[in-house]
Symmetry: C2
Subunit: 244 residues, 2 copies
DNA sequence: TAGTGGTCTAGACCACCCT
DNA sequence: GGGTGGTCTAGACCACTAC
């Protein structure tokens, strides 16, 4: 009868409309119902509908033409891939159509070196935890990622860490904190014997290198990540909508 | 010709608050005035203020804590850089602190090859225009970009093209159209003699390769771009805010 | 002209955080 | 308890596009 109020209306509406778009109830490239029609059908205010549509537009999922209507992006499939951000590697692998698998290569504690201390805003030689993991797409290794973080953030013993969790779940579970934003520098590099040869490709093969810093809501750096990325298997794709 | 309409309130508010944030009137990491205070001071509704703050939050410029307040991101400086998107190379160069300069290397018409025809959704051998440009940061070459597009989109003669314009201005001026969104695939590659050697670095130097497709509002592909990017000079940095 | 999205308002109640 | 952001409403007018 009435819509449940357990979760916010905007979220419910967003979930519903997203489903309709991905299930082609509103086909790619076609015009979808007007704001007023949606508001009437879902028994919510036009403002609530607009909040959701604005978010979709900023993701590039839909496009809106004043005086005309709202259209579903013809290339939804490609956008689907990057939904969730480029730094959630498991989701990225799924988005590329593979089944993700994480293998923990090493998990050790050691003192921080200069650059780590600087980025993580801790003292030189403070204890940090370094976790190296190999992400596989259908058993094929595609990303080699090393994350380091201050040991002081850990609420549990290092041995208790579950290396299969995505990074934001690790923060949530073991730090009792939340990732608020990520700053990623994208570079290119060559596969070196020391780290990548056995994992990926022959020496000298070009790889993408991601240097990521994860921050909490109060701007504290939580994790410093360095990842090597085989783009021949996994597409690193961004969709950017113009303006606002 | 001047447009009559006064600028929308949300845009005015957005511009003002952005200035205050970048000029440190609201210092990085500090709490800024509440929504109600801002609404009162600027004599607009709280909804209008919230629309602007929501946009800022999605950019990672501010963070909001329910029951507490709104905080300016401590790392505003770094976020500044990517504001405007990663595909406006002139802005990107400016964001890195350099003065941008564009040099047109070649501008020719020719028939489309297979992949170009497919991506641009035209027939094989249809006429296209290929424009190669070198972007410099303080006279140092950093990006080599080739853009191809169907000749049929051009409203003027090829000779009239101004190679100094950013890509979205070219679309606006010569296509009488608008870029609505961009799909970018990011790859790594090695500098080759044929294209990059004289422009960038020694052969075998790792470069970023961007494959971009620019779309109009009605989902027509406008331009296919292939760019080689020297990340040692120019940082390719992304900021992603977590969920919402 | 009818209908669309774009802008904007005033006010209500809620969930949450601080002291 | 008092203030903050989060959610939501009902309604108004404007700018634009298709017909």
């Amino acid at each position: 009868m009435q819509i449940q109020r357990s979760t916010p209306l905007v979220n419910q509406v967003a979930t519903l409309l997203r489903q309709r778009i991905y299930s082609r109830t509103y086909p790619p490239g076609e015009r979808m119902p007007s704001e007023s029609e949606l508001a009437q059908e879902l028994k919510v205010s036009r403002t609530t509908v607009r909040t959701v549509l604005a978010k979709f537009a900023s993701e590039g999922l839909i496009f809106r033409k004043q005086g005309d209507g709202t259209y579903v992006n013809k290339h939804v499939r490609e956008i689907d891939m990057q939904y969730g951000g480029i730094w959630d590697f498991s989701k990225l692998i799924q988005g590329n159509g593979y089944h993700p698998h994480i293998q923990t290569v090493s998990l050790v504690g050691r003192p921080a070196v200069k650059e780590e201390a600087k980025v993580l805003e801790i003292d030189l030689m403070d204890n940090i935890v370094s976790m190296s993991r190999l992400f596989c797409a259908d058993e094929q290794p595609v990303i080699y990622a090393t994350n380091v973080f201050p040991k002081s953030l850990l609420m549990v013993d290092v041995a208790e860490l579950d290396g299969n969790l995505p990074i934001h779940m690790i923060v949530q579970t073991y730090f009792e904190d939340q990732i608020a934003y990520v700053v990623s520098d994208i570079e290119a590099t060559l596969a070196e014997e020391s780290t990548q040869k056995t994992l990926y490709r022959e020496r000298g093969f070009p790889l993408l290198k991601l240097r990521e810093t994860f921050y909490s809501q109060d701007h504290r750096p939580l994790i410093l990540g360095t990842s090597y990325f085989d783009f021949t298997v996994l597409k690193l794709r961004l969709v950017q909508a113009w303006g606002k």
